[in-house]
Amino acid sequence: MASLRAINRKAKQVAEIAKAERGDLWALQNGPSPNAPGKVYHPMGCTLNFTPGWEVDISGGTAGLCQPVERDLFDCYLGCGWPGHVPDHLTNAPNWTDKCASAVNDWRNVDIVFP
């Protein structure tokens, strides 16, 4: 922060939250951006670090892995080996992605589905 300096512990927490909110989300693969210092590098998407698919791809790198959220979404419920992580759009949640015409742009509109 340029004009406010967090002094006590609560101020540091408040500043941290503000920074996170401003930064929104940013794919890990994009790496740190000097233009967006507030961005939070957060693994999003269905692949948690205890499920396969996150660590490395077949070449030993990370480029071929599912990209968080933006690309994962449809791959997950059409072709992924971990279907339990996304709603079943064939029978139980057919309208799940109705408000999401383009996953890259509209992923925030995807409904939360409770089984």
Binding site: M1, A2, S3, R5, N8, R9, K10, A11, Q13, V14
Partner: protein
């Protein structure tokens, strides 16, 4: 950052805050978050411009540009101030969360091991005219069974908490040392069985301490608070035996023995200030330098205004001045990395450092409950055996969850309406329920008679905090949670 038309014309105003300066820097204490920020650059200008009232965003920006700030600086500053709620507009105003706690694991019980006392201090909230406890006709001493059942209640109601605390209280606690001793041993054993660490503390008038008791306290690392009001002249004004004889001469050799032999936990003095006993500096010097306490805390006696020993407004002002002097001394010590024993300062500074924002004025009814000699559970030790603040009974199934929930709903800061415009509420939250009952007629009322004093004291502590934060920030690590 793109700003829509609607935002441009929205009036911007300062959020709730208290500003102060220390060590040449300007600070904001933000309410209700309890965060403290140093204000730098053009944030100072924004605060100055909005100090006299709200202003549409575009007018604010135009003024700042006029003053020579760059547009980028201005936008960044407005964004930063808005993010921490120092600056507000209706579009971005966030509704504060004010959800009363419904379930809360118990952490501490205070066992009133006896309702008897060998002293007859005039101001005692347990026996004076302002008492709320109705101990007449009740068992005089807590039995071993009740004490052990209370420990079981603590363990059962503590849920996942790993660290528990039992405080022994009275009357004069040491009149029932037998049960205190057996309870410490019992609680330690049960704690080990349940995988919980149990710690202990004792509040006593000190007159019944013996070598055997002191060694026991030391062996079990029991924290001790001795009630004592200063030198012989001051202490003996209120703290007398039943025959009217002062307690100082009996007390002091025993306290010195305690301070010498018990080195495993903190030993503090707790001073009750009254109309005739309000020379804070003199008392502090005596208790630290002549008696040897490392920690001394002060609180005014809880008393209704008609009592002779009640402290009026003017005396309280003088007490605040003396508190400020001791707090300044605390600051000077802190700048040299030395520990100062004025616990009113260290307690408040710790809360400011954490940035506490209290939903409840204290832990009573929340993580702490008191238990009377017959097993009546009360909000805290002051409410034990009183029809007010009754929270169940050890003999009748422990905590009355309905009463506790009702209490938490009606005593939440959200229900203390008088506090909603006060900048000191993150730390104060309306103050002691007992004090409120005696002086305002209702436990849920805010202690309005102390508001100015509390704001004054918080301002003193914020300045001390700011100075330490700038000049010796390392010292603040001492306030880290254990």
């Amino acid at each position: 950052m793109s700003v829509g038309m609607e935002t441009q014309t929205q009036p911007y105003r300062l959020g709730e805050y208290h500003s102060f300066s220390a060590a040449g820097s300007e600070f904001l204490y933000l309410v209700p978050s309890g965060s403290i920020f140093a204000v730098e650059g053009i944030a100072k200008l924004v605060i100055e411009l909005l100090g006299s009232g709200e202003m549409p965003r575009e007018a604010l920006v135009a003024k700042l540009l006029e003053l020579g700030c760059s547009r980028e600086e201005v936008e960044n500053t407005i964004q930063e101030l808005t993010e921490v709620d120092a600056l507000q507009c209706d579009l971005q105003k966030k509704e504060p969360l004010a959800v009363p706690v419904q379930e809360f694991p118990l952490q501490r019980i205070v066992l009133n091991t006896t309702n008897q006392c060998n002293l007859a201090c005039t101001y005692c909230y347990e026996y004076s005219e302002d008492k709320i406890a109705q101990s007449a006709g009740k068992e005089k001493f807590m039995s071993r069974e009740i004490a052990e059942a209370s420990v079981e209640m603590l363990i059962k109601e503590s849920a996942h908490r790993p660290n528990l605390h039992v405080t022994f209280f009275g009357g004069e606690t040491l009149l029932n040392f037998t049960v205190m001793r057996s309870t410490v041993e019992y609680a330690k054993r049960r704690g080990e069985e349940e995988g919980k660490r149990v710690e202990f503390s004792l509040t006593t008038n000190g007159t019944l301490l013996t070598e055997e008791i002191v060694d026991f306290l030391s062996e079990h690392r029991i924290g001790v608070t001795v009630s004592m009001d200063g030198d012989k002249e001051l202490n003996d004004r209120q703290r007398v035996f039943h025959d009217g004889k002062g307690s100082y001469d009996v007390l002091v050799p025993k306290v010195k023995q305690l301070l010498k032999r018990h080195r495993t936990n903190s030993i503090g003095a707790r001073v009750t200030l009254t109309a005739g006993v309000s020379d804070v500096r003199r008392i502090y010097r005596h208790l630290t330098q002549d008696v040897g306490f490392q920690a001394v805390g002060f609180a005014p006696a809880t008393a209704s205004p008609q009592r002779l020993y009640h402290i009026g407004g003017q005396k309280m002002d003088s007490i605040l001045d003396q508190f400020a002097e001791l707090a300044a001394e605390y600051r000077d010590y802190a700048l040299q990395n030395r520990q100062h024993g004025f616990t009113n300062a260290s307690d408040t500074l710790k809360e400011l450092h954490t940035g506490i924002s209290k939903a409840y004025a204290c832990g009573a009814g929340l993580g702490m409950l008191g238990v009377g000699t017959e097993g009546n559970v009360g909000l805290c030790h002051r409410f034990v055996d009183s029809p007010i603040g009754k929270m169940g009974s050890i003999k009748e199934g422990g905590i009355n969850k309905t009463a506790r929930r009702e209490f938490l709903n009606t005593h939440h800061i959200g229900a203390r309406y008088d506090c909603h415009t006060c900048w000191a509420r993150p730390v104060c939250a309306g103050g002691c329920y007992h004090e409120a009952y005696i002086n305002q007629g209702n436990t849920s009322a805010a202690n309005l008679h102390h508001c100015d004093w509390i704001r004054g004291w918080n301002d003193v502590c914020l300045k001390v905090y700011g100075e330490i934060a700038i000049r010796n920030p390392e010292f603040l690590n001492r306030f880290a949670e254990n």
